[in-house]
């Protein structure tokens, strides 16, 4: 449809080249008063030059961020504004036209192209389909094997790395600077981020082991079945890695006894086994069972009984 209509529009191969006289209305500037526009553009260019020079001077003097930004930003803007104004107000504004030709080729060209592709393709595979199959198999095998160095070499297989932390039976709780935590360190309502002793100088260990220790009034704790001994003297230790997307559950709100993850606003009830009460987190924060040793240091009774952090396919 558009093919036939457009053929009429198509200009001859050797159309006369358009010539215009200087006073053709299409060649007139847009400005009512070109002299005034000229002056305005000159002022803009001068401001631009001053701005750029100003930047150079500031830089020469040792630099100052805001002045640098103001001078060069302003300078470039004025030069650009002047040039755009030159284009808009002083150059021929037309309107000018160019004709548009249909994208589709004439029918004979289309047929020739299609048959060239199809017929020559048939020549290639005529009675030699098995060669094509073999070539395809070769490419496919290469495609798969090529991903080995590209992907497999990048990192280790997960194995059980996601299931474990560095917490072990008897691990002493220490703060970030390696100081052990004693049963007298926190008041009721206090909190502290703790790590297993010996693992505070590695960012990789911190990422998984981080544990938030809070001290609650022992009487207010809702004891979970099987966790009767896990919170000596009101000390409760939970994994600090959010079960939603892995952010540190960093905000302990003493008034409501809740832990808030600042990334996506999941809320966990400290007194009720860190069960999620709000937000997108699906699971309670795993709890680390504690005991107080003979010297009054807090230690882990056992490692976490489940993987810490967000969910993944292999988690059962």
């Amino acid at each position: 449809m558009e093919g036939s209509a457009a053929v009429e529009d198509r200009p001859g191969e050797h159309e006369a080249l358009p010539i215009a006289s200087f006073d053709d209305p299409h060649l007139q500037p847009y400005a009512r008063d070109p002299k005034r526009a000229e002056r305005l553009i000159a002022v803009l260019f001068v401001l631009g030059i001053l701005g750029v020079i100003g930047y150079g001077a500031v830089f020469w003097q040792g630099g100052q961020t805001q002045l640098e930004g103001g001078f060069l930003g302003g300078g470039l803007f004025f030069i650009g504004f002047g040039l755009s104004a030159w284009g808009k107000y002083l150059l021929p504004q037309g309107p000018f036209v160019e004709s548009r030709h249909p994208m589709s080729s004439p029918e004979p060209d289309r047929e020739a192209m299609a048959s060239a592709v199809v017929d020559r393709g048939k020549m290639v595979f005529r009675r030699r389909g098995f060669l094509g199959t073999l070539l395809g198999a070769g490419m496919g095998v290469f495609g798969i094997v090529a991903t080995f160095p590209l992907i497999r070499s990048l990192g280790p297989k997960p194995g059980n790395a996601l299931d474990t932390t560095n917490w072990k039976k008897g691990s002493r709780l220490v703060t970030m600077d390696g100081r052990p935590v004693s049963v007298h360190d926190l008041e009721v309502g206090g909190s502290l981020t703790v790590f297993p002793e010996g693992y505070t100088d590695s960012i990789r260990a911190e990422a998984t082991d981080q544990t938030i220790l809070v001290r609650a009034a022992a009487s207010s704790i809702v004891t979970q079945p099987g966790r009767e001994t896990w919170g000596p003297a009101g000390y409760l230790a939970y994994s600090k890695v959010c079960t939603h997307a892995g952010c540190p559950v960093g905000l302990y709100m003493e008034q409501t006894q809740q832990l808030l993850c600042p990334c996506h606003q999941s809320l966990f009830d400290v007194l009720d086994g860190a069960a999620p009460v709000f937000g997108p987190a699906p699971r309670p924060l795993p709890q680390l069972p504690l005991y107080v040793d003979a010297h009054g240091w807090l230690r882990a009774q056992a490692p976490y009984d489940q993987p810490v952090g967000p969910g993944f396919w292999e988690r059962s």
Binding site: E2, H244, Q265
Partner: protein
């Protein structure tokens, strides 16, 4: 002289015929056509400032003790990536301006692409024959967002480190292969063996920019090959393009515009602080700061993560964390899938297989406009949901209320906006001459008290003033005569003739 040079080139490359028609290429004049140019020029700025940054940035997670000029950090153990970024900010002259300019340019780049895409969508510029260029454009948007995320994750500061951990958790949530993907990419359990920063670096500075540059080339090639679309108007048909020629008018305007965009970005870089990583501090996996928001173009995903209910599927010895998988993998996949498919979806519904070069006015396509406005409202609501905590604080209501409000709003707002848009489009379609400038009428009262209504003076923009479009002249006669002689004064030769801006 210039003729000789052109002939020399033509003898060897035969550039004259094609070159001349390229100089004659017509650019329709409409403000909305600037949006793509903003994106293009932001990209140029990104490349230039990015090259500068690579001269100083060290893509390494290795720990060093900071000894630079920023006193509060002295003596702290930080990564080389973080230390070098602080050094760019305080130890390199103009370094902070250029670093912030790079960040601003990235935000503007993605923003300009998004708004440009809205223009293409609402005016139907994606229709046949431009579906391919739409696909290239959607790919560019995807890559721009990805490269933006990679870029702001590089400095290894507290905020970006938390974002990186979320990205890792999102990878983990993919069934079957998630943990393998995450471990391969990060080189082990988060934060891996220190390889994520150099890996992101090479993707950010080489792989993705190269693909983006190639696709921008393809985008512009298709644009020149298919020529611009245009709004309807005097002398405009499906078989022509009306506007300003490439040389000299458009070239002057667009080069000027390039300098303006660069100037604004430079001024933003110097005057408006962005991503002050020295205030965030270096990344420590157990630390986090309050009110952490990603860059704006990740906001819709952050919002989706926040308002998603906590559904996790556990069974058959496996876990599928739907609360992460659905909003962070499936949802963006669907979003971009629909973007890619839109030209074909619409063609299926309208059964319109014709070639279109004249743009739609959004009001003339109420259904498409309503769908687009609803979608925009949807993503804006999600974006707003990425600041639930800030809103709760600001309005002094509980987080719970804010969250549940958003869970409803994200459904209600798009529907209301779409319906309202549809009604408004229908109403506007019935009004004649809407959007056209009307001649003002001046009411005067004579000394005797007699009122008279006179039309105001004619102004550019009044419809009937527009000339019929003419072909771009190749030769202009009379240029060499003295312009001050008076015989060829263009103003006296064509008094009062002005082109109407569209």
């Amino acid at each position: 002289m210039i003729e000789d040079a052109l002939n020399w080139l033509d003898d060897r490359l035969g550039v004259s015929k094609g070159g001349r028609s390229f100089l004659d290429k017509i650019f329709p004049d409409h403000w909305s056509f600037l949006l793509g140019e903003i994106a293009l020029y932001s990209f140029v700025v990104l490349i230039a400032t990015g090259v500068f940054l690579t001269l100083y940035f060290v893509p390494s997670a290795k720990d060093v003790i900071y000894h630079g000029s920023y006193l509060p950090l002295r003596g702290q153990k930080v990564s080389e990536a973080y230390a070098s970024t602080v050094h760019i900010s305080f130890g390199v002259r103009s370094g902070l301006v250029i670093r912030q300019m790079h960040h601003w340019a990235a935000d503007v780049f993605v923003g300009a692409i998004a708004v440009h895409m809205c223009r293409i969508f609402f005016t139907g510029a994606f229709r046949k024959p431009r579906e391919l260029n739409w696909i290239v454009g959607v790919t560019l948007l995807t890559l721009a967002i990805m490269n933006g995320f990679l870029g702001y994750s590089l400095p290894d500061d507290l905020v970006s480190g938390a974002g990186l951990r979320i990205a890792y958790s999102i990878l983990l949530s993919i069934p079957l292969v998630g943990s393998y993907l995450a471990f391969f990419l990060f080189g082990g359990k988060f934060p891996g063996n220190g390889s994520i920063i150099p890996r992101m670096f090479i993707l950010h500075v080489l792989v993705l920019p190269a693909i983006i540059a190639a696709l921008i080339g393809a985008h512009l090639f298709l644009l020149v090959r298919q020529k611009h679309t245009q709004f309807s108007g005097k002398g405009r048909t499906e078989h022509n393009v009306v506007g300003s020629p490439m040389y000299p008018t458009f070239m002057a305007k667009t080069t000027g515009f390039f300098f303006m965009v660069t100037g604004v970005l430079w001024a933003l870089g110097g005057l408006v602080q962005i991503n002050p990583i020295w205030l965030f501090g270096p990344y420590e996996p157990y630390k986090v700061s309050y009110a952490v928001q990603p860059d704006w173009y990740m906001g819709w995903l952050d919002g989706a993560l926040r308002i998603m209910p906590s559904w996790e599927f556990v069974g058959f010895g496996h876990t599928i964390p739907l609360e992460v998988l659905l909003p962070a993998i499936v949802f963006p996949g669907l979003t971009f899938g629909i973007f890619y498919a839109w030209p074909f979806i619409e063609e299926k519904f309208t059964k319109d297989h014709a070639v279109h070069h004249i743009l739609d006015r959004p009001r003339d396509r109420p259904k498409r406009t309503a769908v687009g406005a609803g979608a925009l409202a949807f993503y804006f609501t999600l974006f707003a949901a990425s600041s639930t905590d800030v809103l709760a604080n600001f309005f002094q209501v509980s987080l719970n209320t804010v969250l549940w409000s958003f869970r409803f709003l994200v459904v209600i707002v798009p529907i209301v906006v779409a319906l309202a848009t549809y009604r408004i489009c229908l109403d506007m379609a019935g009004v004649q001459g809407i959007g056209k400038r009307k001649r003002a009428l001046v009411v005067t009262r004579s000394a005797e008290g007699e009122y008279a209504t006179l039309p105001s003076a004619e102004r550019p923009g009044d419809e009937h003033h527009e000339l019929d479009p003419a072909p771009v002249p190749v030769r202009i006669e009379g240029l060499d005569s003295d312009p001050d002689s008076g015989t060829l004064d263009p103003l006296s030769a064509a008094p009062g003739i002005r082109r109407a801006p569209r």
